[in-house]
Symmetry: C2
Subunit: 702 residues, 2 copies
Amino acid sequence: MDPIINAVLKPKSIAVIGASTNPDKIGYKVVENLKNCGYENPVYPINPDAEEILGYKCYPSILDVPYVIDLAVVTVPARVVPAVTRESGEKGVKGLSIITSGFSEVGDHALEDEVISIAREYGMRVIGPNIIGTLSNSDKMNASFTNFLPLDGKAALVSQSGALLIAMDAATYTRRVGFDKMISVGNMADLDFADLITYLNEDENTYCITLYIEGIDDGATFMEAARNCTKPIIALKAGTSAHGAAAAASHTGSLAGSAKVYEAAFGQVGITQAEDLNDMFDLTLALSLQPPMKGDNLLIVTNGGGVGVLATDAAEKYGLPLKFAPEDVQAELRKYMPSFGSAKNPVDITGGAGLKGYYEGVKYSYAHDWVDGMVVLYCETSVTDPQEIAEAIYNALQESGTNDKPVAVSFIGGERCEKAMQWLIEHDIPTYDAPDLAVKALAALRKQNEMLQTAQNAPYKPTGIDSEKARNIIAGARAKGRDALTEVEAKHVFAAYGLPVTPTDLAHNEEEAIRMAEEIGYPVVMKIVSPDILHKSDAGAVKVNIKNEQGVRDAWKVIMENSFAYKADAEIDGVAVQEMAPWATEVIVGSVNDATFGPTLMFGLGGIFVEVMKDVTFKVAPIDKSTAFDMQSEIKSAKILEGARGEAPRDQKALAEVLANYSYMIYDLKDEIAESDANPVIVYEEGKGVAVVDARIILTKK
Amino acid sequence: MDPIINAVLKPKSIAVIGASTNPDKIGYKVVENLKNCGYENPVYPINPDAEEILGYKCYPSILDVPYVIDLAVVTVPARVVPAVTRESGEKGVKGLSIITSGFSEVGDHALEDEVISIAREYGMRVIGPNIIGTLSNSDKMNASFTNFLPLDGKAALVSQSGALLIAMDAATYTRRVGFDKMISVGNMADLDFADLITYLNEDENTYCITLYIEGIDDGATFMEAARNCTKPIIALKAGTSAHGAAAAASHTGSLAGSAKVYEAAFGQVGITQAEDLNDMFDLTLALSLQPPMKGDNLLIVTNGGGVGVLATDAAEKYGLPLKFAPEDVQAELRKYMPSFGSAKNPVDITGGAGLKGYYEGVKYSYAHDWVDGMVVLYCETSVTDPQEIAEAIYNALQESGTNDKPVAVSFIGGERCEKAMQWLIEHDIPTYDAPDLAVKALAALRKQNEMLQTAQNAPYKPTGIDSEKARNIIAGARAKGRDALTEVEAKHVFAAYGLPVTPTDLAHNEEEAIRMAEEIGYPVVMKIVSPDILHKSDAGAVKVNIKNEQGVRDAWKVIMENSFAYKADAEIDGVAVQEMAPWATEVIVGSVNDATFGPTLMFGLGGIFVEVMKDVTFKVAPIDKSTAFDMQSEIKSAKILEGARGEAPRDQKALAEVLANYSYMIYDLKDEIAESDANPVIVYEEGKGVAVVDARIILTKK
């Protein structure tokens, strides 16, 4: 655990620079909140014009405080922040929490850079600027200007929106979702999501890390931190729509990356993405209170058929379809229900069922080996008391002799149900007001288990690559003032990274073309290579299925004629001669350099699938082969690769290698390749490989 | 309004048959609930052993009551129900509410049928059996065994699950969603969803009808009632998953139809389908309190950038993407916010914004012509009072001079926000605890407006059809003991309904085949027609692209040889000779006879789209041409029909006619056709029509 960051987040002493005697000022509120919320370590208000504030002795400058200071909370106007930062450095303060706004979020990057550069000079770390502050129940510390600590709990919130943090702080009490810490990160000029994930992963009071994200600058560091984190991470990413991203960009200082790439990155490092604000609270409740679900067998116990059916529907929707319980489980459960109940799954102990039905049913099922996780549902009735039911469920779980399986509960009813649900949450059982939410919670815990298994793959580096050759080809193109490679050059770069390009050579004259065609073997394809002719087919400068020498000669003539007819002064590099790959399943592999996450791989089936159905998937590069298989199975048209309509399965293993090598190529050459694609890539039957038929590389601006 | 049903649901007097003096019995609870909830009309407990119950004079039999009785609530054991039904009939009671269970839901259909048949004899209507009862705030009537009336409001709930109704009754108070009526329909032996939709559409206290559905018997009547209803209808359909449908079927007595067909039927008659229980409450709040949204321009006002972004994302997700407000609106709005606010959309009046910002901003925007609907968001802050903000929003709306546009609000915060939100709901403004829910509410109100526009199309009947010819062909096949038509027969049936089948005739010998080929015009396709050879291609009994007389002779020989090689004793009807349709975009049109909704049309693109992507859409037949266009645009691959990848648009008009005629065919022949498909159907360029190339009809069992 980084001792400096620990001193900033769990300070043993706090100075408030800009402490005020005016109760309307933030500089007063921070001191008041520290006091009222019970912070037990020393607080030093810094104010040259006051003797004391709320019983704390004031100092004119931080340099005048005769004690050690861990954290300085800064509330002075923006223009004064550099000066107080330097004073804090001189004083030996460990770090700053800069509440003050008026920095990069309003365009003043220079002032922000100045502050951070001073802080770095003294080895100080900074949270903010433009924040609400930091709150921690376990330290009884409210070093912020929002009035109270959140409902105590096991999660930590890191929020890029201050207004939302204040509102959520209040909302923890009505929603009964507890947090140990809430950290406002504002402009993230120094400490960012990555630093806080790394810190919170080692914090003993944090069981689950919840992030509200508007935009991240350094995607790679963020992913690295998340990948190394062993606690559940939940992220609500705002700005997923085009219009929303524009609003987010105007709201914070950072550029919002594309929603699809964020989604990919989250998935790759085991972050659970929340769909919306309620989902974020619901997931936090489940992931902070319950263990991951280690198998697929979900058992539902209910007293109402209707909610049982709704929960069953939800189980299918969220990827945990119910199976009937084994006969021994059913036989045992039938003992605790009337004859018109159902012991299958959902287990309907019926509306008349009381405490005994719930207690015995839950206790027996929860302990049974077949059951991997449970959802317990209760519909309020006039013959049962919700609180008693809640206690029966809790006692059954406690006395079952098991505690490593997840459970979620849903009560449907009125005021009495609300109170009983609150009691259950206080006893660490996530409880929701609708049956599908309890099921969704279990599905998230199931997914959490899967992510724990897969997120720790070692980075992939293919063997036998020739990075230098690729860089030489690129340097050659740049030397000619070009910002894109020709198809032949791009294929040679691909080949240097082990990609199976169809043999392609650049012929400078007819005789050379014939020699190449004979080397490659007929039939061949010939295409013009010219920086002036991008749409080769439109220009009539592509000839396929050339079968012999005479064919090459005829093609050469036609291609040249058509090219000059298309553009009389076209610069012609020559004619590409390439193997005519037999046709099979067409896929596309491509890349972009995402502003946040860097080189990012795209994969999909070719033609209409990519153009009309937009059936593509993304991964941040590099990926390993296992992730390359995931990409093939997560597109909607996955079944075509598996062998649909009576066709043999495609060579998914060879395709996985192509995807992994391609991802390594764009990662290795990220300073050179801005965009690229291999389109089409032909995937043959299992064992028969893959052929990259066309290649395109756009270079980065330098 | 049906006077008998009105007497059952708004009775001027109630007898409780099976009234009990034992407070644990349902027969006591119903009397107690009628009394406690304030029912002001006469109540007559029927109990041979008691003098009075809770101050109401008892009668030994309903026949002994000397006054007129509208409704008899029945709580006696199931075996006694036929007798009391007959007595009620003799007494001249208008209808029965049969709470008693033990009928079709446990398999005793005979007893249920007996009761209904007695009721019909006397012209009585029946709710139930197996119900909780009926509740109505406007009549202060709680004729049920759940203890209290729901929170008063403008919606009506009709629920097929009793347990869920009891739980929801209680939940109305905690969720603040008000209902005027709650009606438990149980087994729906007589009065069903259709009757209640028709009744509630004319009920002055109902503004929105909310249905909890497990299964419907008569889909056509249900659709008719919903189609004629001018009030919003919301349906939560339980049992959408395979496992869930099984659970639903065991829970109620009716068969759950396929989820896809329910979804289609709801869409066709303007029912908004709720995704889950919370969604049902959320939609009820919006649709019972606010008018439909007449245009696409949604304006969002917020004091927090973060929730503004979340709402913007939601707007895109729910199909109401935000546009920037016009410059005049922005200029005006800028007056009410600090310089760092944003007047675009979302309108961010910023966290410092107080009452004036909300009041002026909302009042001006709501009245502006450009705005079709509004979402107002508020994040709790330490400088604002949620209740004051709520009142400012309400007053702004009231004083805007406009009231025909929908508004929804979201407050994010704690206890104070909860209270303010409750106040807003009490003032008929739907208010939610997350920004996306407020946006989703507006999206539902927008959809409601669209459904009002389109749900009222007159039934479609194509001209020039020859129903008799089709029935004769079918009768001919049945006479031969077949349960399927041959391709040639099926095409003739299709042709009788105006479908453009490729000209196809059945040749009984070579010479006939040559004559037919010459009539049709070369090239032609020839295929064996035999009830013993279903997989014609596998048998080598299909020849395509036959160009002349010699080709026909060769094909005849090969087809016959291969057919007898395939099955030596095959019964051969002859050889189909058909036009060889040029290839273009391949689609599939098919039908099933759904257990609930009857003949149902399926449409999708052919090949991989239907087989791998499952990209198909359903409509209950018959449909009109406008709905036929909807089908073409609601598949995911719709763009292919519109002309993707530089191709000309397909003939969508001709295809719409095919779909409409096909739907009329399966509707008209629903007693004859069990399943059918036209696969493939070739769709040519705009203006060039459609060709049905292959046809299949499976007959109903008779």
